[in-house]
């Protein structure tokens, strides 16, 4: 079992659902984002998902897009980010760090180097939403060699055979996108009817031995409750960023306490 999956299993002994909270690295400044990550870990979130900003984040909605663009007003560097995250991982050993970004900045940094350096800094998983598994042979090998997990995404419209393929290949955890569209509130929210979340997660469970994380559009306690017993991790992204933008760290912590009490 991968170290990420093992961590989830262990934590799940005492918690009905784990929390993964998203932070944009460098927003509004590098220092403030690191401070916010440290605070979240201190407050006991199980995971932080750190997004290394990219100029063209096509899977993200307005809140995260704006934060990424703001963060990119300063020069950001992958290597610096990794070593800063490594320090956090050391300081807060009860939480784990997953790095999310888009392909291009990571591709420029070097995929082998990324997997190696991430592992050295105790980052346990990588999420690249624009890298499909079919194009990811080298990336998968690099992750495997360094004992970290590439996290794959499935969605409510992923065809059954592909869902089976992705789910059975998942290690660490499988990121189950809860609905169509981009992250957070946006003008593009899906209007189409989709299968109920329960049916969707049950279908994934048939194929996946890895734990399940659910994200996209979570912002209420009832949604988290609905996931208990069906998923292992609830991923909080834009809602947390919106709270942070509204009232800083305190407002963010309040949201987390409301959702995960």
């Amino acid at each position: 079992m991968s170290q990420l999956a093992a961590f989830i299993e262990e934590k799940r002994q005492t918690k009905p659902i784990l929390s993964m909270t998203h932070v944009v690295y460098g927003y509004p400044s590098v220092e403030e984002s690191l401070d916010w990550m440290a605070r979240l870990m201190k407050e006991g979130v199980d995971f932080i998902e750190v997004q290394f900003p990219f100029s063209d984040p096509v899977a993200d909605g307005p809140s995260i897009v704006a934060a990424c663009h703001k963060a990119l007003e300063q020069k950001l560097d992958v290597e610096t980010c990794l070593s800063q995250l490594g320090k956090l991982a050391n300081d807060y050993p009860n939480s784990r760090i997953v790095l999310m970004s888009y392909l291009n900045p990571m591709y420029r940094f070097g995929m082998d180097k990324l997997a190696k350096r991430a592992a050295e800094e105790n980052i346990v998983g990588l999420i690249l939403p624009d890298l499909p598994m079919e194009q990811a042979t080298a990336y998968k090998d690099a992750c495997k060699a360094n004992n970290i997990d590439p996290v794959w995404l499935v969605t409510p419209v992923t065809p059954p055979d592909r869902l089976a393929m992705l789910a059975s290949n998942a290690s660490g955890f499988l990121y189950c996108v809860a609905r169509s569209g981009v992250t957070g509130h946006s003008s593009h929210e899906g209007k189409v009817k989709q299968t109920s979340l329960d049916d969707y997660l049950a279908q994934i469970k048939q194929h996946a031995s890895a734990p399940l994380g659910v994200g996209f559009g979570l912002r209420e306690r009832a949604q988290i409750e609905q996931l208990i017993g069906k998923a292992d991790i609830a991923i909080l992204g834009s809602a947390l960023l919106d709270a942070y933008n509204k009232g800083g760290q305190e407002e963010g912590i309040k949201l987390i306490k409301d959702l995960f009490h």
Partner: protein, 419 residues
């Protein structure tokens, strides 16, 4: 040009969020079926002819030829398409494909607004709902096009993120598609994006080169010696070049936007002089203008339709293997080329197409007199009236605008504008 699993050498591919996988596959299969269906092709040809006015002429430019004293200069008149640009070839093709797939709505990104108008035209004709994403800065630069899109019934959404230009509009169109994929088709305007878009757009645009093959033989008894096309996203270049790919004696020159200079941010040169670097973004791998950290950068051109940060993976590949030669034209040379065509031949070229003119005009005097060159005049220049007036420092234009505004009714109608 057939791809290998969506790839052209190391470029192309499909790098999209998982949510779009099914829709991408649907387009892949629908296109594969359609291009082998005689009924679809017959309808496509009929619409090209009856709606867009194809075939477009190949026009010999006697005055320009004499002026330069070198190569014989011909123009492929894509400016004579309905909507005034080659964009129509593609939107008709994809529009028919949308009907075939049974979708009711199209989304498109636009830079100069040419693709936006073309999409809005075809959507109106085919009874499709239409949403156009356009950078807020491009809307400022190209308002007349926005005006027509709205009159045609399209919803024009200003994109205010990032640099507020074509790249941001493309991101936003992809985001819309991520939520609306079941009922909407993303009608990409150029031969970029995830597979099969580069191949599909190039296929629909290849009508340009296919006509030139027949027209050149009919008019001067041989294929052209050299072809010139401007390269923004690369669709008009693909359209002219690809049908000649196997005719090794036909040389091909692509002209990028040199803008104001070669500093990052001042130009849109991705394929020569080591200014672009390989990258993967916006759904595909190609040469992008980016910094060393892999962040895509801002671009510039006097022609809004050329300032895209990436380029067709087909053109990137053909450049890499040496089949296409790439050069660039600076803003000033472009305006000079535009002016020369106006004066010598009585044709008003788009500033985008004027890049191809500028590239060809540089070579023409040095080429033997029996050399036949064909320049793709991809669009007409009426839309550039404000920018050209400014560039040639027309003295009367500001007064005209002042007078016009003074007489303009003050209660403006904002219907159809959305945010």
């Amino acid at each position: 040009m057939q791809s290998e699993n969506g790839f052209y050498g190391q470029y192309g591919g499909s790098y999209i969020p998982e949510i779009l996988y099914s829709s991408q596959q649907q387009i892949l299969h629908a296109f594969e079926e359609a291009k082998n269906d005689p009924e679809f092709l017959a309808e496509l040809n009929k619409q090209w002819q009856q709606f867009s006015g194809r075939p477009t002429p190949l026009t010999f430019c006697a005055n320009l030829t004499e002026h330069f004293g070198g190569a014989q200069i011909y123009l492929k008149r894509e400016d004579l398409n309905h909507s005034g640009a080659h964009k129509m070839n593609n939107v008709i093709g994809q529009g028919l494909l949308v009907k075939r797939m049974g979708k009711k709505r199209v989304i498109a990104e636009t830079g100069a607004g040419q693709h936006g108008i073309a999409t809005a035209l075809v959507a109106a004709r085919l009874g499709l709902e239409c949403t156009i994403y356009m950078g807020a800065k491009d809307i400022e630069r190209q308002y007349p096009n926005v005006f027509w899109m709205k009159q045609l019934g399209a919803t024009v959404v200003p994109v205010t993120t990032g640099a507020q230009t074509l790249r941001d509009a493309l991101d936003e169109a992809l985001r819309d598609w991520s939520s609306s994929h079941e009922e909407s088709h993303y009608l990409i305007g150029t031969s970029c994006g995830c597979a099969p878009f580069p191949e599909m757009v190039a296929y629909f645009q290849s009508v340009i080169g296919n006509e030139v093959r027949e027209q050149s033989v009919a008019q001067f008894g041989q294929f052209p010696d050299r072809l010139y096309a401007c390269v923004g996203g690369g669709s008009n270049a693909c359209g002219l070049f690809l049908p000649f790919l196997d005719d090794k004696e036909v040389e091909m020159v692509g002209v990028e936007a040199g803008g104001k200079g070669l500093e990052l941010g001042e130009h849109s040169i991705r394929l020569s002089h080591n200014l672009g670097q390989p990258g993967i973004a916006q759904g595909f791998a190609t040469m992008f203008l980016q910094d060393e950290a892999g962040q895509l950068q801002e671009t510039h051109s006097i022609a809004a339709g050329l300032d895209y940060v990436g380029v067709s993976p087909i053109i990137a590949h053909l450049t890499e293997i040496g089949r296409i030669q790439m050069t660039y034209a600076m803003d000033d040379d472009v305006v000079a080329a535009c002016t020369l065509l106006l004066k010598k031949e009585g044709i008003i070229p788009a500033l985008e197409s004027s890049h191809a003119l500028a590239g060809a005009f540089k070579d023409a005097p040095n080429l033997p007199k029996d050399t036949k060159i064909v320049i793709n005049l991809s669009g007409r220049g009426d839309k550039d009236i404000f920018n050209v007036a400014k560039a040639v420092q027309d003295e009367t234009f500001p007064q005209f605008l002042t007078d016009y505004l003074a007489a303009y009714p003050t209660t403006q109608d904002h219907k159809g504008e959305t945010a």
